[in-house]
Symmetry: C2
Subunit: 217 residues, 2 copies
């Protein structure tokens, strides 16, 4: 047998080329030839690693979702030794905003997948099975905050978590559309958290932009 090649690594490289194209031209605008050219390989080689376009699309979606989850985890672990639930929530929610190039591209790719997922059942299941997990995680942090007396117990619900996710998702949408700036969206996230936890969070707003940028790189 010939030289051993790391298929997974090749697929990842191709996926990253796909993202670059999809983030500027959408998934339908990303032909196999374009992706191959972007990845610096031939069409034949691309097809060697992905037999169909759908196969490539699904792999790239799983991969980018995995990276996004890793980013959130890393952001949370970069906090203090014992961060407050509020700090954890803030790190998590701000990770969902396009505050840097990486997350911006991730959201643009997500938008391209979203448009396809509303018609494609397989993609839909793939795309948003993470939401219940995210909601459960946020709910857990809310409950933790309630136990510590930092939050009214009636606010520590799944509904509250879902509203948080929805609001941040909507804010991210409008940032991509240019309705407002990324910093404005982050300010609104902090405002929402301040409403939940109490006004003592207002003075934390100033240091917010600075706290996010370094975690990105």
């Amino acid at each position: 047998m010939p030289k051993k090649v790391d298929h997974e690594a090749r697929r990842r490289e191709i996926s990253e080329a796909l993202w670059r194209i999809a983030s500027t031209r959408g998934l339908d605008g990303a032909s196999l030839r374009d992706v191959a050219a972007e990845a610096g390989i031939s069409l034949g080689r691309l097809q060697h690693y992905f037999r169909t376009k759908d196969e490539m699309l699904v792999f790239a979606l799983r991969y980018i979702n995995r990276l996004a989850a890793d980013r959130i985890r890393a952001r949370i672990e970069a906090l203090d030794e014992e961060p407050t639930p509020r700090e954890v929530l803030r790190a998590c929610l701000s990770s969902m905003l396009p505050l840097d190039d990486q997350s911006r591209i991730g959201l643009l790719v997500g938008a391209a997948y979203y448009a396809r997922a509303v018609h494609d059942e397989a993609l839909r299941a793939e795309a948003e099975n993470g939401i219940p997990q995210l909601r459960a995680f946020l709910t857990g942090q809310l409950r933790l905050a309630a136990e510590r007396g930092e939050l009214p117990p009636e606010r520590a619900t799944e509904d509250e978590a879902m509203l948080l996710i929805s609001a941040v998702d909507g804010l991210a949408t409008y940032v991509l559309l240019g309705v407002h700036a990324p910093e404005a969206a982050l300010r609104l996230v902090d405002l929402q958290l301040a409403k939940l936890f109490g006004a003592d969070g207002v003075d934390a707003v100033g240091e917010v932009a600075g706290a996010v940028a370094p975690g990105v790189g």
Copy 2:
């Protein structure tokens, strides 16, 4: 000269055919031939009214935005003689959810346009110039509610209005993705309003689903 034809009306018919296709297959999946077939006309005739595909897309976007705005206005005017600001807000926000086929298709078409708008500057300006107007309207209603003593004055801000819009937008997104049911989204909108105005709105939740459906037809 031959028979006079209402160009505007023809363009609207074609646009409606486009929506039907775009809501199930996306904008890229809607070829000129498909749209013509759906509208029951020939390709040549379609081209007679829209010289390019882009021209058709932009017209159809403006048209659907106009219809959506009309729907919201009609829903508000269908309220009591002198509705409370809270009732107006509820009518407005629930109009943004996919609670019936018409608004669902509108949101699906909007999703298709959204995916294209994040790359297309012309479309982006066209697609979301309505948000500042919507925000201003909601802010006005919040201020009105504050004047009437139904809302804490510090809540009657543009920021609060933007958070409302974002949350409802996010909720609509997740309904389209099948994360939760339309009724669940509506329940969360009512919950959000109850948090704003006070808990006395909880008992109004029960009659909510019934109040929305008839306004649709």
